[in-house]
């Protein structure tokens, strides 16, 4: 983002003759504008996800879901947001006002700031930090503070319960979730999200090894890596407080958990943050385990080539100029790849949410500390050994990856078949209008 700001500034200087003295103000204004655009992006993103979720939930629960506002109910989230904003913003008299007001923003900031390092394609990334992965784990942890703060400041016992549960849960699951990402960091040798994605590629010479073929994804690197993905997925469910880990807001136990006392816009902020959080969880899975935005067969130009200008993408024998329009479409395609993969992960999260019940708090703790954590450590060390025995570039490693990818395809087919079976097993009888 810094590059962007300085680039725009230099343009302004040369084109409009902007004086040097105004430089910091313009920079600040631009940062604000970008941040605003960013927040809107995250909010719209969350909104689309809400639509996505509600329609899928509707199908799972054998009802229709929102289909009135906009085409197929796509604009329902705007209607909901408008409703929430126009609602009275109630702060309980005995609440701790400053904390009560601050809490939703912490939650919102924590989630929205996480979007900064999500690479949607080779060039569509707000900030390619060299500690991107660490940053996103750290910044999304701020939400714990927000949740705990709201639980305390509401001065409601149910909200307090929700806040305490959430603190216990989020802090615990940070550990397996962070550790499950470590193998990817070891493999790519970088914490930057962009570099982790670019490391998930075979040799650029052959179209069948270059780019984002499934056998280049980290998830198929080794069986342990697959286990790591499952651990990370579970941990992200817990961190996003999604079922089966939605204990912080378990509506049948804690009324609504930490956000019991919130209404209007503040509640909307929680709501949006929660949904945006799920997108981040999906995006992290895609970045670290599913090859990110990489297009199958497309070899990314190296950083040196880009710096030297005249770099090209190679894709099935074609050379596409990095600075030209061809690259634009390629980037658009990788954006699409990223979104589709992310939507796939998010779909499973949604499907889980509307299928399984909630675990109990002691079971939640047991899962984390007794199973996930030792398993993650074991996987980490096994992967270290694997890396020594079968380095990424070796043919044997490629064969293993291809076998793993095939196994993954079988697993996916099995899942699809099972879902189809469950959808059709009750047949037309799901809609019993024919009786009456």
């Amino acid at each position: 983002m810094q590059d962007l700001v300085s680039f725009l500034n230099s343009q302004l200087q040369t084109v409009f003759g902007l004086s040097e003295t105004l430089f910091p103000y313009v920079a600040a204004a631009m940062v604000l504008a970008i941040a605003f655009g960013f927040t809107v992006f995250a909010a719209v993103y969350a909104g689309v996800f809400i639509f996505f979720e509600r329609r899928i939930a509707g199908r799972i629960m054998s009802r229709i879901g929102p289909n009135r506002v906009g085409p197929q109910g796509l604009l329902q989230f705007i209607a909901d947001a408008v409703k929430l904003i126009f609602k009275e913003d109630i702060i309980p008299t005995s609440a701790d006002r400053p904390l009560f007001k601050l809490a939703p923003y912490l939650m919102f900031i924590g989630v929205v700031a996480g979007f900064a390092v999500l690479p949607f394609s080779h060039r569509v990334i707000a900030a390619d930090l060299n500690v991107g992965l660490l940053y996103v784990l750290a910044i999304t942890s701020i939400t714990v503070v927000g949740v705990l703060m709201s639980g305390w400041a509401s001065n409601s016992k149910w909200a307090l319960f929700g806040g305490m549960r959430s603190a216990a849960q989020l802090v615990s699951y940070e550990i397996p979730s962070g550790l499950a990402l470590l193998p990817a960091v070891l493999l790519s040798g970088s914490l930057s999200t962009q570099e982790i994605i670019m490391a998930q590629a075979g040799s650029p010479e052959h179209a069948l090894t270059a780019g984002g073929w499934p056998w280049n994804w980290y998830i198929f690197h080794s069986p342990m890596m697959f286990v790591c993905f499952v651990i990370f997925f579970i941990a992200q469910l817990a961190e996003g407080a999604r079922l089966p880990f939605d204990l912080p807001e378990g509506e049948s136990e804690l009324v609504s958990g930490y956000n019991t006392e919130y209404s209007g816009f503040r509640f909307g902020a929680y709501f949006t943050a929660e949904f945006a959080n799920t997108w981040i969880a999906g995006a992290l899975c895609v970045i670290v385990f599913f090859g990110g935005w990489q297009i199958p067969g497309a070899a990314v130009p190296s950083a040196e080539a880009i710096a030297a200008s005249g770099a090209t993408w190679t894709w099935f024998g074609y050379s596409i100029e990095y600075a030209g329009w061809g690259a634009f479409w390629l980037e658009a395609l990788s954006f699409l790849f990223f979104i589709v993969k992310m939507a796939g992960v998010v779909f499973i999260i949604i499907q889980l949410r509307w299928t399984v019940p909630r675990v109990r708090i002691d079971q939640m703790m047991t899962i984390c500390w007794k199973y996930l954590l030792p398993l993650t450590f074991a996987c980490l060390f096994l992967i270290l050994g694997w890396m020594i025995v079968l380095p990424w570039e070796s043919t044997a490693a490629l064969v293993v990856r291809i076998v793993m990818a095939l196994a993954g395809a079988v697993l996916l087919a099995l899942y699809a078949w099972r879902v189809r079976y469950n959808i059709h097993s009750a047949g037309d009888k799901v809609y019993p209008h024919w009786i009456i």
Binding site: D96, N155, L160, F161, D246, V430, I436
Partner: protein, 378 residues
């Protein structure tokens, strides 16, 4: 400015009101929960929020006029309160029901039991956080309600039974539609089992949670599915048959501790699911074997049982034995009406079973004994 009202009891415990408006109390009940963090020290049910004085109303209105009020005893299974009251009056008068009326009562009651268990077993996963099973069961219950509406014009408060029989005959084509519905719902029960009953998280949440032994269940006066889940093989329909149940062939499911110990929350859930299958079986037999005949027997125009006579009749409701006691004083109004309901008895066990439970366990326990608030308070 800020005043924290969190009550701290002497030993650092927190007193928290679970209810009267709480999502998992199934109506307006309050539980005074004394907790130490997530672990409950004591949960005291506070009932009476829905007391409407139904028993007192019974003393103010003539015998036949009280029938619509009995619907309000248990809104999810109104037919059974109807039947208990009707049977009590019939006992007072010494009436003998025509066979067709008995069969119609069985049809109405079993359809109602099915609808009630659909809600009961649907609410339980909902209280554990899984919302989908509930919507599926509500979808099925719609049809059951539609059928009941055809039968008696109402979907919840039926007022179908009359002293000495039933109010109306089956509508044209009802038997065919009912059989169609049964054919429709029978394969959906295994589907529901695939969705939730076999779900590992669901099992882990319920198995071994709050087991109630057979002796305890009898000591606390638990009835119906709660009693049977504890392994006590007792069902009024089979052991003291009333209306046409003596002619029906069905099994009584009891708790076997399928995934945990006998009498745990999971057993209470499974017993209800199995009872639905049995209800379907009874409904089939009742519809297919429906005899011709009168809808009501000869009932005296003025119902005035002699003073001092009393009667107690009980039926196997969806929530267990629903007893009705009547004391006549020679007028056309009873001197005393009393309902003995399963939910009220089930509330007694909560306080004694609560120490050491998690909050989530308490929610599961309340859901598993399937209490309905108006039936507790009447």
């Amino acid at each position: 400015m800020t005043s924290y009202t969190t009550e701290i009891i002497d030993d650092g415990k927190m007193l928290i009101n679970m209810g009267p408006q709480h999502p998992s109390t199934h109506g307006v009940i309050n539980f005074l929960v004394e907790t130490d963090g997530e672990v409950i020290d004591r949960a005291i049910p506070e009932i009476g929020y829905l007391h409407r004085g139904i028993e007192k109303i019974g003393e103010m209105v003539p015998y036949p006029g009280f029938m619509p009020y009995t619907d309000r005893v248990d809104y999810l299974a109104a037919m059974f309160a109807n039947e208990s009251y009707a049977m009590a009056v019939e006992k007072l008068l010494g009436l003998e029901l025509p066979r067709r009326a008995r069969y119609l009562r069985v049809i109405a009651c079993e359809l109602n039991r099915l609808a009630s268990h659909l809600v009961g077993t649907g609410c339980m996963p909902m209280d554990l956080g899984a919302f989908t099973p509930f919507t599926h069961w509500v979808r099925e219950r719609e049809t059951a309600n539609d059928l009941t509406e055809e039968l008696c014009g109402a979907r919840l408060t039926y007022n179908y039974l009359r002293i000495g029989g039933v109010s109306q005959d089956l509508p044209v084509g009802f038997d065919k539609r009912l059989l169609q519905y049964l054919d429709h719902i029978e394969p959906i029960i295994p589907e529901f089992n695939r969705l939730i009953t076999g779900n590992e998280i669901f099992v882990k949440r319920l198995a071994n949670v709050v087991p109630v032994t057979g002796e305890e269940a009898i000591a606390y006066g638990l009835v119906g599915p709660n009693l049977r889940a504890s392994g006590v093989d007792w069902d009024l329909r089979r052991d003291l048959p009333y209306s046409a149940y003596g002619e029906m062939d069905f099994e009584v499911p009891i708790g076997k501790g399928v995934r945990g110990v006998v009498g745990d929350c999971y057993d209470r859930f499974v017993v209800r699911i199995e009872e639905m299958t049995q209800s379907i079986r009874i409904l089939r037999q009742a519809v297919e074997g429906l005899p011709e005949g009168e809808l009501t027997c000869k009932v005296p125009k003025k119902i005035k049982p002699p003073a001092g006579t009393d009667a107690f009749a009980r039926t196997e409701s969806a929530r267990g034995e629903l007893g009705c006691y009547l004391l006549a004083d020679g007028t056309d109004k009873p001197a005393r009406v009393r309902f003995r309901t399963g939910s009220f008895a089930a509330m007694c066990i909560i306080e004694d079973k609560s120490p050491g439970l998690m909050i989530a366990d308490l929610v599961a326990f309340i859901a598993s004994i399937d209490v309905v608030a108006p039936e507790i308070d009447r």
